[in-house]
């Protein structure tokens, strides 16, 4: 979905909550490579230089006590470690003290196997719930309160921040801030069951005006369907889907699965398992188990016309 060669890579990051750790990662990586190269060369050279000639008698020698290796090696080791420790403490301080007040506070709740994203408004009626895609205003610090609904997951958008576990019964805090508008991929990284592999999440940083427009659109309830097929689909949805899914502005208020009020504003389905679109919707609704085995959504057993109708209805949820 992005042009990046490795969407989950973190050797290049894009926000002040991640960048200090990235520099430290590079620093320790370079130190590590240097140490490995030096020690490999020392061991290999030692074997070559000190190899007994073939057929030579393997006479014992006491050898020098060679403690010089400790006197040189250990101080170098300690200096490297002290530098690494101080740098580590500095980075810890930097990423734990964000600049200023959060522009926005959101809640992210890990579920088997999707992400619930809650935007609390300043007043009642200004909040809304979405799933798997987190819009944030670029350049602004966003405080994220994370928790788990069932088992432990881990919330990770590598370009913007390190991992924070989502633990049921606990609330953890992390920050997201993107320097530039863009799409940043994330994924659950604590093993959480059968579909741990299909638990992607996206952070979408919008220019502030675009973010505000998105927020206003999300606040609106779902538009009433107009086309006859979509109207029929809405009835199918109420009968088969509303126990688990909510669509604001209708009677559907289930809280087991993702809120679908503005489903079509999202780019993927089923936590990144499918690109969003008519064909994917039909495939997913008819048999989710074929795409995400053991997912909590059962096969719906809809007839062909019912399936087409409900997809037509879902496509109105823009």
């Amino acid at each position: 979905m992005t042009g990046a060669p490795a969407p989950l890579g973190y050797l290049q990051t894009a926000g002040p909550h991640a960048d200090p750790a990235t520099a430290l990662t590079w620093g320790l990586l370079i130190i590590s490579v240097v140490v490995v190269v030096i020690m490999t060369a020392l061991v290999a050279a030692g074997v070559v230089v000190r190899r007994a000639p073939r057929g030579a008698d393997a006479a014992l020698r006491e050898g020098p006590n060679a403690h010089g290796w400790f006197y040189i090696g250990l101080p170098l080791t300690c200096i490297t470690l002290v530098v690494s420790a101080i740098w580590t403490f500095q980075v810890l301080a930097a990423v734990n003290s964000p600049a200023g007040q959060p522009a926005l506070t959101i809640q992210v709740v890990g579920h088997q196997w999707w992400w619930e994203v809650r935007y609390e408004g300043k007043a009642p009626g200004e909040g809304f719930v979405t799933a798997n895609e987190i819009h944030i205003p670029a350049g602004r610090p966003v405080l994220v309160e994370v928790t788990g609904a069932d088992v432990i997951h881990s919330f990770w958008i590598p370009a913007l921040a390190g991992k924070t576990d989502t633990i049921p019964g606990r609330m953890n805090l992390t920050w997201l801030q993107a320097d530039h508008p863009g799409l940043y991929r994330g994924q659950c990284t604590e093993y959480c069951g059968a579909q741990h592999a299909h638990m992607a999440v996206y952070a979408i940083a919008d220019a502030p005006a675009a973010f505000e427009a998105w927020r206003q659109a999300q606040l609106a309830p779902a538009p009433a369907p107009v086309a006859p097929q979509a109207i029929a689909g809405a009835q199918v949805f109420q009968a088969h889907c509303s126990a688990c899914h909510a669509v604001r502005g209708t009677e559907a208020a289930g809280i087991v699965g993702p809120d679908l009020t503005h489903l079509m504003s999202r780019q993927t389905l089923a936590a990144g398992a499918l690109p969003n679109g008519e064909a994917s919707l039909a495939g997913w609704v008819s048999n989710p188990q074929a795409i995400k085995p053991e997912a909590k959504m059962p096969a719906t057993n809809l007839s062909g016309p019912e399936l087409n109708a409900v997809v037509a209805y879902l496509e109105t949820l823009k």
Binding site: A4, L29, V43, V47, L60, G148, D165, T189, A197
Partner: protein, 650 residues
Amino acid sequence: MTALGEARRPRIVRATPDFPGPRLQALWETAPGLKGWLGTVDHKEIGLRYIVTAFAFLIAGGVEALVMRLQLAGPGRQLLTPEAYDQLFTMHGVTMIFLYASPVLTGFSNYLWPLLLGARDMAFPRLNALSYWIYLAAGLFLYAGFVVGRGPDDGWFNYVPYAARDFNPGVNIDIYALGLILLGISTTVGAANFVVTFLRLRAPGMSVNRVPIMIWGTLTASVANLLAVPAVSLAFFLLWMDRQFGTHFFDASQGQPLLWQHLFWLFGHPWVYAIVLPAMGMVSDGLPTFCRRPLVGYTAVALATVATMALGFGVWVHHMFAVGIPAMAASFFSGASLVITVPSAVAVFAWTATIWTGRVAVTTAFLFYASMIVLFVLGGVSGVMTASAPVDWQLTDTYFIVAHLHYVLIGINVFPVVGAIYYWFPKFSGRRLSETLGYWNFWVMFVGFNLCFLPMHWLGLMGMPRRIYTYPAGMGWDASNLVVSVGGFLFAAGVALLIVNVLVSLRRGKPAGPNPWDAPTLEWSVPSPPPPYNFAVIPTVGSRHPLWEGRIESAPGRSSLTEGLLLDQGRETVGTSALDAEPDLILQMPEDTTAPFWLAVGLAVAFGFALPHAWTGVAAGLVIAGLALIVWFWPRQIRGRPQAAEPIDA
């Protein structure tokens, strides 16, 4: 022990082929037949069983890994269902960490300790047998569910709440919990045996600063196990209570999911050192043999071994940096984890200095030992990266960790162990392994290993999470995963060459003689394979290198290997004081008995019936165990002696 008799003064004699060997052979030999096979308490037999069983589990765990690598060789492959993959990665971890890595070292230590220490058996030979039988039972217990598709499926560290009944209702996790409690009994009794053997069974004169480093490694690991295993056995038991009886230790509503992580890693991190320190000891003792000089910095390396373990108890939270801990705690555990590098560096510099100041005889065993230094450094520096909390927030639970832990566990456990097989196979079997095949064995394993695990660092830095059964194309992971899979199969081919070499050399290997490497320690002073009584007379030790005495300055000739205490009035060995190894007791060692076998059977039956709450079956198992204990401890007169130990006047 009541009414110790008058102090006995054993004769000091010179051993000849005719005396006292034949008499000791009759006293110590295991009876033929099934009863003898089940009842033997010979540490050498038990040690070999441990090694063979551990290798069987290594092969099982390796096959599981290869199946996973077929699934992950490319994006979107559908060889395995998610549930099958989850059981495979869980059993791979459980197998390698619990059923291979620790038991294989226990096996070597069991075989070697009495020989290295100049004793005729471990302190508690029957406990030793019990330790093996319970290990075997626990391994079969853990695999019983897997073969019928009900294996543990929550990873080897089995985090709650996913392991709770609400989310994982099958028998899978109960098998994990009960099977590992059972294994914990084996580990605990084995560890106690090593500690007491170290304190009381060293040959006269083998003061604590004269024992081989491998003894320090296993001793340190054993003390750690005694302290660490209870934490995790408790956690397993509480989990089983939560799952079966509705207690609330770990659930999110009334308990605390993080309690599991603390209890697990309080055990888990020390355990990592417990499964590498004995192997590091093998390298510390083996390298000098091939470098033709004593180890550089014996005292520093011995102290570093102990220091590593002591520090190892203070770093468990570095497995939990992402759970939401305060910055101060993250700083503390980052710092502690960095400090642990120092004792590791001591060992690395000692080994490298030994090579640089020696004359190197390049054998297969040497290649495995020397390559271990490089793999240890690589696994060590990646460990330093994960010790830094802010870096770990990115690295953790990616393939970088998978790479790191395999460099540590394969690099510091498997490579030394294979080196140790080349080194001690002549002692075990009386024959040498083929060096030509060994050379191929080493290079195929070394290249395969690095091809498999080096690119995993890159996969981790490119963000590939652990424990995913599939991944989409376009993540930048495809090519590296293919290389990893190819490397995995090459590595497996290297392990296969080892097995071929062992099987071929058992029949056709060159006869080894007692000391094929001209090595310095006591096990090489006895025939290959050693007789059941190990030493015809109890040796007296005067230096760290008894077989190099008179040839190097630090070992002037003081040890006495062929002339020593004659202990032939039953299965006897000598007990010595804890630090200086002054002889103070003649210990009566027990006869063979099948009681440990039946005790293990009884416990396994009880644990098995506990799975379905079949309490009658549990009771039956406990009755078998109780009867076995009664037989085990039934008081008897041992060849006319009233007590198990008598003072010595030496």
